[in-house]
């Protein structure tokens, strides 16, 4: 189950050349593969066309007798005529051009009865000699009608028709070969196509993901997580659907329709025209069907989403429903939604129930037309029986590609909408990577020089803050919630660009530094520690190549001994399916993380949450150790941390109101002194809580 039902289902046009050009670019590395797929597809469609033709040939050349008797004044120029005398000629039907044949038919000159010619002197002639009265002698041999032949014993019949039987066996073998070739090539085509699609998706996802990673934080503030997930997963899948199912099938279907029409027109253009007259009806019906299916499908999706959301909410809010005795009401509401979903699905079913049978009716009707009008053509000689049966099969084949094409339209439309969203994301500006300066051995001097910052324009969160943290010294930031403490950390790491003033690392404005360099010199420990799925080790060294030993050393250094007591030690899974870590343990892990990365500057947001006293003591000790020798900027809540800072700066509503050492500030008797005396004066311990806690 996933909850991404809220996707913007606004669909625009089905084809956008600009988007398409950008999309095609993703195909570029695989253009050879893709071209091979298209070629294979067309080739397979070609084989598809061959199959009915094979039976046509079998019927016309072998299953029906080849000759008819023609009554004509003069010997015909076509059809290898054999003069039977009395103006009668034995002609080979297959060798007569259809127009000529039709003329003969219309004139009633051609016999409907078909004959087999057995030439004198051939091997078969020997059979004839045994049945002198059964066959009719003609100049140069004998002829036999269907009826004559049927009267012969099977063995002799088989001898007389030996060449036809051999021809059928040959054709059946050819048929089998075509089948096998089609089988192998189809598998190859499917595999290649899917492979290409998967590679393209892989690239797209990689590109998107890499891009997302480099977007500025401001972007993440604006865009909910679910939306970004959909871009990288579902939207990419929609495009893949277009490449693999729609684009290639487009070639196949177009080729098939064209091929069928050409073959049909070649066989009998009038019959083809009759079938073709149905074409607009088919296309219209398919189009209508597509539209309705889409509307119905969307409604079903909407109702399913609504139902799922309702069930999900009921489960989460079950306690409230029960406490407020609203089971009946909830059930009533559920029935409504359940019913609405049912109704939507019934509507969808009706759409299918009307259109599917309608399409199959059209297909049957086309066959009826072939039988009637085609049969008429057979009788008047312009169509062979084999061609008629082929026509029946081609008429059936004509429908599927039309339906597919109309289906493809929906896929295309969805893909266009998805690619529009994807490209919008790709067009977001990435973070400025900085001017690229870096020093080999940073000292870690940090200076804020009249820094002004606002998340939203003019809504100043920091107003002209200036302070200096000398290398290796500790600065404690103190102030109530909303005073701008956390913002200082963010802008120091250049998560957000400042509007006015300067932040300098070792005298260089941070904008001029290489962004990766800047951040890698600092380690951040935040109050609420974000853990990634994976084991403890992954969470200490993250995705870096820090060796395991270093990670373990760092954990030991910060007294994160609890790890070793876990079931799988450093390889214990955290989060889902894993252990749940306490707030204190999470803190220690994040310390270990910071130490493992060996930063020059430590940026720390001390936890305010209540932690049991044992862990609290551990954390304090670790904190001392990791701050040792590093420039530290600490949003401090604990008295000991504050007291030992080299400099305390007191923020109030974005302004730096006091700064100095603990003693200096106490002597100043201002805001700091007031805070201190209220919270720590008596016990000397405790946590400096944010005022709103």
């Amino acid at each position: 189950m996933n909850g991404h039902f809220h996707e913007d289902e606004v669909l625009g046009k089905a084809f956008d050349a600009r988007l398409m050009r950008r999309l095609i670019r993703f195909l570029k590395p695989y253009r050879a593969l893709f071209a091979a797929c298209v070629l294979l597809t067309v080739f397979i469609a070609g084989l598809q066309l061959v199959i009915p033709y094979v039976s046509k040939v079998a019927i016309d050349a072998y299953m029906t007798l080849p000759r008819s008797i023609l009554a004509l004044d003069a010997a015909p120029s076509e059809g290898n005529p054999i003069d039977l005398g009395d103006g009668r000629y034995l002609v080979e039907i297959q060798a007569v051009p259809p127009e000529l044949r039709r003329d003969w038919e219309t004139a009633g000159a051609l016999s409907t009865e078909r004959y087999l010619l057995i030439e004198a002197g051939s091997d078969e002639a020997e059979v004839v000699e045994r049945y002198p009265e059964a066959l009719t002698a003609v100049p140069g041999g004998w002829i036999a009608s269907e009826e004559d032949l049927r009267a012969l014993p099977t063995r002799d019949l088989e001898r007389l028709r030996g060449s036809a039987i051999a021809g059928i066996v040959r054709l059946a073998a050819l048929f089998a070969v075509v089948l096998l070739v089609r089988f192998v090539f189809t598998i190859l085509q499917v595999y290649l196509l899917q492979y290409t699609g998967q590679r393209v998706m892989y690239d797209m996802r990689r590109g998107l993901f890499a891009h997302v990673l480099r977007l500025p934080l401001r972007f993440f503030d604006r865009n909910p997580v679910g939306r970004l997930v959909t871009r990288v997963t579902n939207d990419v899948a929609a495009i893949n659907e277009m490449f693999t199912s729609m684009l290639v099938n487009l070639f196949r279907d177009a080729f098939l329709i064209l091929g069928i029409l050409i073959v049909m027109f070649g066989l009998e253009w009038r019959l083809a025209l009759v079938i073709f007259a149905l074409f607009p009806v088919i296309v219209f019906a398919a189009w209508q069907f597509r539209n309705r299916v889409r509307v119905a499908y969307r409604e079903v999706r909407r109702q399913i989403a609504r139902l799922n959301a309702y069930i999900q909410e009921s489960i989460s809010g079950m306690r409230i429903i029960q406490l407020f005795v609203q089971e009946l009401k909830a059930n009533e509401r559920f029935s409504e939604i359940n019913q609405a979903k049912y109704a939507a699905q019934i509507r969808q079913m009706l759409t299918f129930a009307v259109f599917r049978p309608m399409m199959s009716f059209l297909s049957s009707f086309a066959i009826a037309l072939v039988i009637w009008y085609g049969g008429f053509n057979v009788l008047r000689g312009s169509l062979s029986l084999g061609a008629l049966t082929a026509f029946i099969q081609y008429a059936r084949m004509l429908f599927e590609p039309v339906l597919n094409l109309s289906e493809g339209y929906n896929v295309l439309q969805a893909a266009m909408a998805s690619s529009e969203r994807i490209f919008r994301l790709l067009d977001e500006d990435a973070e400025d990577p900085g001017a690229g300066e870096a020093f080999p051995a940073p000292e870690g001097r940090i200076e804020f020089r009249d820094v002004w910052f606002a998340y939203n324009e003019e809504d100043w969160v920091l107003k002209g803050v200036s302070f200096v943290a000398e290398p290796g010294r500790h600065v404690a930031i103190v102030g109530p919630t909303g005073s701008g403490k956390t913002t200082i950390i963010r802008i120091l790491l250049r998560m957000y660009p400042i509007q006015k003033g300067e932040i300098l690392l070792d005298g260089v404005p941070i904008e001029r530094l290489d962004l990766a360099y800047l951040r890698s010199r600092m380690a951040v420990v935040l109050q609420d520690v974000f853990l990634f799925s994976g084991d403890i080790m992954d969470n200490i060294r993250l995705r870096s190549d820090i060796p395991e030993e270093v990670a373990i050393e760092s954990a030991r250094f910060v007294n994160a001994d609890f790890v070793e007591a876990l079931p799988d030690g450093y390889h214990t899974e955290v989060k889902e399916r894993g252990v749940t870590l306490s707030v204190g343990e999470r803190q220690l892990l994040s310390f270990a993380r910071a130490v493992a990365f060996d930063p020059t500057v430590l940026v720390l947001d001390e936890a305010t949450a209540s932690i049991d006293s044992h862990t609290e003591a551990l954390i304090q000790r670790s904190l001392h150790k990791i701050m040792e020798g590093r420039t530290s900027i600490v949003i401090a809540h604990r008295l000991s941390t504050i007291r030992e800072a080299d400099r305390i700066i007191v923020l109030h509503k974005g302004e730096l109101v006091e700064s100095g050492t603990h003693e200096q500030l106490l002597a100043l008797d201002g805001l700091y002194a007031a805070l201190h005396s209220l919270q720590f004066a008596e016990t000397g311990e405790g946590v400096l809580r944010d005022a709103s806690d």
Partner: protein, 577 residues
């Protein structure tokens, strides 16, 4: 427990009608090749009468069209009705299950039952039945007709088809497995992106973009691999069907073609044969498919039945008694949460002795995890206390009608769960028929009325996923209004104002004092200022009452209460200018 058959039997009318329609469709379809045969044979003899054949085909096509509509209508209609009924049954069952069930069951699993499993049952009942019924008629009848034309040819031609059916059985199972694997990889992919975006600050601060990318490529590649594993099997699907059905046609061309030449069958027979054969392909596939559909439907129904077999832990007493008073008396209460695996959990509350006289207010203070919320939840029987330990008005709450008990308690939970509905609907949740005045009155009491008026649509503003998101403090006040609106005789506040600042809490509670008057109230708070006016306050620590008395008594006692009080006093002075 209901089986698939039971459900189908319940809709037997529709199923039967669908079956009849399907039979008519099949019967009409099966005639078409015979007409074509007749037409072709007539053509070989040079006879006409083809208009008649064409009209007959068209006529049959009309019948097929009409009854195809009907079988879809009846079969799919029945399946959707079954789906609707099962889902309704499941939902009302869920409404009756107790908190301990929900504590132990993942929402995701429940959702899977309510969606995927029900869908699988519907598929088994709809297309599953069709895939059984269709071959049942089509195969024997087509084969019989073919055999009447030429038994030997029939035997040869039908030979490859059972392979097709067997192949489908195996195939369906493998594809299903691989498809699930693809789905799983897809979820992993989603989760990976979700997690990375959620932890983007950490990724950026530690400059882990490159590493994260490399890590992502594993997940990305997994998706490719799983998909290709599916394609390797799935890619065989159509080609193999084409191959096997084509093989049958090749046999007909070979053996049947020779038969035509030998004049043992007519050309019409030959054409009819090929048509019957192509009619047999779908039922053969369907047979194999049916096995899978039914199997999956059965497994899903099994899971649903298991869920339906869950019995609610909290049940209505056999002979419900009415509440007479609201004096709450707790005697020797020791309570441990039921643990799913049969282990005995350590008690969350031990040896609680407590009396709240009618109309009095009890304050409850204590550190996180001390057991305050547990106490609050036992009174409306979210969890069941041991028999005889909690009495209201002299009656054991386990003997009181469940609805009556809960209706007489206004409960404000710590976590103010709101539904995605309008503010007015949320406030009137316990009394949907409440008037606008009552709603506004409750909101005013909860100190939220003015703020609501500032929302774009006032009381009609939708909250939750599809509407605006409220702050924690705002949600809490809606939750308070929701409880107050009921004008309950007993009020339980489980630290409902933790997310508003102290002044506002005091202001709201000050206004509520009048409301509490005459109602028996339990007020859990983490700020002393919230409970200092209570008639009596208890301090709970590690599941036990460690201090009790009035505010003054507790301050004088110099215990936990007094220490918390001093700390909070100091904090307050600090932020006052």
């Amino acid at each position: 427990m209901d089986r698939l058959q039971t459900w189908l039997w319940r809709y037997r009318g529709r199923v039967l009608a669908g079956f009849i329609a399907l039979m008519i469709v099949n019967g009409a379809t099966i005639l078409v090749p015979l007409i074509i045969r007749e037409a072709i044979d007539r053509l070989t003899r040079g006879e006409g009468g083809l208009l008649q054949s064409g009209l007959m085909i068209t006529g049959l096509a009309v019948v097929v069209m009409a009854f195809r509509f009907l079988w879809r209508y009846f079969f799919i209609g029945a399946a959707r009705r079954i789906e609707r009924a099962i889902r309704a049954k499941l939902y009302s069952h869920l409404l009756g299950l107790s908190a301990s069930f929900y504590n132990e069951t993942k929402t995701g699993d429940l959702m899977a039952h309510a969606t995927n499993d029900i869908e699988a049952v519907a598929r088994a009942c709809g297309f599953g039945i069709i895939t059984i019924a269709d071959p049942l008629f089509m195969i024997p009848v087509s084969v019989a007709i073919m055999a009447s034309i030429d038994p030997r040819l029939t035997l040869y031609a039908v030979l490859p088809l059972p392979i097709l059916a067997l192949f489908m059985v195996w195939f369906g199972a493998v594809i299903h497995r691989r498809f699930e694997a693809v789905q799983e990889a897809f979820s992993t992919l989603m989760e990976k992106v979700r997690e990375t975006v959620s932890g983007i600050r950490v990724v950026k601060s530690f400059v882990q973009e490159r590493g994260t990318e490399i890590d992502f490529s594993t997940t990305n590649q997994l998706q490719v691999d799983r998909n290709m594993a599916l394609v390797r099997i799935h890619g065989l699907f159509h080609p193999l069907i084409e191959l096997l059905s084509g093989a049958s046609l090749a046999i007909i061309l070979w053996i049947g073609g020779i038969d035509v030449v030998r004049a043992s069958i007519s050309l019409g027979d030959f054409v009819a044969f090929t048509q019957y054969l192509s009619m047999l392909i779908w039922p053969m596939i369907a047979m194999g498919w049916a096995v899978n559909l039914i199997q999956r439907g059965r497994a899903s129904l099994g899971r649903i039945n298991r869920l339906l077999a869950e019995t609610p832990e909290i049940v209505e007493p056999a002979k419900p008694r009415s509440l007479r008073g609201t004096r709450i008396e707790i005697r020797d209460l020791t309570f441990a949460y039921p643990s799913g695996n049969g282990r005995v959990a350590s008690p969350a509350l031990s040896d609680i002795q407590l009396t709240i006289d009618e109309g009095m207010t009890l304050g409850v203070v204590g550190l996180t995890g001390a057991g305050k919320s547990t106490l609050a939840h036992l009174i409306p029987r979210v969890f069941d206390p041991p028999v005889g330990t909690i009495c209201i008005g002299g009656v054991d709450i386990r003997d009181v009608g469940l609805d009556e008990l809960r209706r007489s308690i206004g409960f404000v939970p710590q976590d103010p769960f709101l539904f995605s509905a309008t503010l007015a609907e949320n406030i009137a949740f316990g009394a949907p028929e409440a008037s606008r005045e009552e709603i506004e009155e409750a909101a005013t009491l909860a100190g939220f009325h003015e703020e609501i008026l500032e929302f774009p649509e006032g009381y009609e503003t939708t909250v939750g996923e599809r509407g605006i998101s409220l702050s924690g403090g705002q949600k809490q006040r809606v939750a308070i209004a929701r409880a107050l609106l009921l004008k309950p005789r007993i009020v339980i506040f489980d630290d409902p104002l933790s997310a508003v600042d102290a002044e506002r809490e005091e202001y709201i509670l000050g206004k509520l004092r009048k409301f509490f008057h005459g109602r028996t109230s339990i007020l859990i708070a983490h700020r002393i200022s919230a409970v200092m006016h209570a008639d009596q306050t208890i301090v709970i620590d590690k599941g036990r009452i460690v201090e009790r008395g009035t505010h003054d008594e507790l301050i004088a006692g110099g215990g936990i209460y007094e220490r918390i009080w001093r700390l909070q006093q100091a904090e307050r002075r600090a932020i006052q200018p």
